[in-house]
Amino acid sequence: MAFFNSLNRFGDYCMFLWRCFSIPEKWKEFFKRYLDEISKLGIDSIPLILIVSLFIGSLCTILIKLNISNPLLPRYSVGLTTREIILLEFSSSILCLILSGKIGSNIASEIGTMRVTEQIDALDIMGINSANYLVMPKITGLITIMPFMVVICMATSLFGGWLICILTGIVSPDTYIYGIQTQFTEWYVWFALIKSLFFAFIISSISSFYGYSVEGGSIEVGKASTDAVVMSNIMILVADVILTKLMLQ
């Protein structure tokens, strides 16, 4: 029974996406909302990204230094390992898991509140495709801005590692810089950027779907918001495994 319910829900999600990806009623209005969403979902998240990235970059550097204190390993391996962790996992997957909490709950609660206060019905009655009008700018906006957020995350995390080297002296800053330049694989940056596009789609579409299909009142909106974040996180991890297997092996 649970299997059929899940299948039914997935079917609803596909139908919802089908409605989202139709031609906008007015392109001018779409671009206005698209830019608004880039600002709201992306630009407004930059302070969070800066704080989280700075500390995670610092932590990575400290923990790697603590765990690979081996005379056989070169000292620059701290910078090199920090870079690989940040490029391969943190800047895309972990960042998106964190952002799904902020952005996902924001999207689900906003659309859910519009649903329970009949604002979505008002759009439908006017003859507007509400799924397209409300959701497509969010999906396209987040997909557009996510790679930039990933680049900011990469730069800030590496800067955090460098800063902790200066502040604590666990590794000399020059050695750290040498480490993050050594054996650099450009493809890893592309890998993180490509993954982030998929994760942006997952966060925005799943959260929108949960918000759009709310029935009831404020309690259901809260539940939808939580469910949206949980489901987005699960799907990000599943997609991460699949994409890593496909693109790195």
């Binding site: 009949e118 604002q119 009655i125």
Partner: protein, 265 residues
């Protein structure tokens, strides 16, 4: 005119079907305030949602000046909806937009007017509902009555042929309710709109009920107008209309004096 013919509607609940509407037949006339009345849970909201196309009936026809909404494809439905305005129970104003933004929204989406013309039309609608001066206020800054008026302004912005109102007086004090009723009545007569009001407010029924459809347990219980309500011999309707002491006194007064007290400002 909107004509409803033989509408049945049921919903799936816990694996079985529960019928909510049974063979509904009714006519809603141009330039008149048509009221759908009935107790909570009687099926009147489901009926309105069927009429506007938010629900699809199991069978029957819903004719908008001869055009059957139940067989329309998405494109035809979209065209028809441009002729429909709707006032929701909770106003359903867009929180992120000002009053002007809300009223101008349908014009931006569907009209071919220039920006200046859109502003003029929106301002006309705002003035018409007596909200002049509140153009730049957000819905959260408005009282319940003002929100309803803003929603009415948005509903009439595109000059609709059909106006639907779901419980327009819910949550309003009696005086504000009268203001909203009279506004809806005036707009209906002024623009010749087919207005359908879903309500269980007896003040509205007695004040503006030019054509009343009483829904009882999913069936059409009675059809008439506000003058006939006092004399009709229908137990279900009487139990609904005269549920309060006030209206029982009105009936008694009318029977004693042969007329109905009217509203006075």
């Amino acid at each position: 005119m909107i004509e409803v013919k033989g509408i049945n509607k049921s919903f799936k609940e816990n694996g079985s079907y529960r019928q909510v509407l049974y063979d509904i037949n009714a006519k809603f006339y141009d330039g008149k305030t048509n009221l759908i009345i009935g107790q909570s849970g009687s099926g009147k909201t489901v009926l309105v949602k069927n009429i506007v196309g938010l629900f699809k009936p199991d069978d029957g026809q819903i004719l908008y000046d001869g055009r059957d909404i139940t067989v329309m494809d998405r494109k035809q439905l979209k065209e028809l909806r441009k002729e429909i305005g709707m006032l929701f129970q909770g106003s359903a104003l867009f929180d992120s937009e000002t009053v002007l933004g809300n009223v101008i929204f349908p014009l931006k989406m569907f009209s071919k007017m220039s920006h200046e013309e859109q502003r003029e039309r929106a301002q006309f609608c705002i003035d018409r509902v007596n909200l002049t001066g509140s153009e730049n206020k957000f819905p959260s800054e408005l009282s319940g009555g003002m929100q309803k008026r803003a929603a009415i302004a948005r509903a009439i912005a595109l000059n609709p042929k059909y106006l639907f109102c779901d419980e327009p007086n819910s949550g309003l004090d009696p005086k504000t309710s009268i203001v909203i009723d009279e506004l809806l009545s005036d707009i209906t007569h002024e623009f010749g709109i087919t207005t359908i009001i879903n309500t269980h407010d007896m003040n509205s029924v007695m004040g503006i009920g030019e054509n009343i459809v009483f829904i009882n347990k999913g069936h059409v219980g009675w059809i008439g107008n506000k003058d006939e309500v006092y004399s009709v011999d229908n137990d279900d309707l009487n139990n609904f209309v005269y549920a309060t002491d006030l209206f029982r006194d009105v009936r008694k007064y009318r029977r004693q004096h042969g007329y109905t007290p009217t509203r006075q400002q």
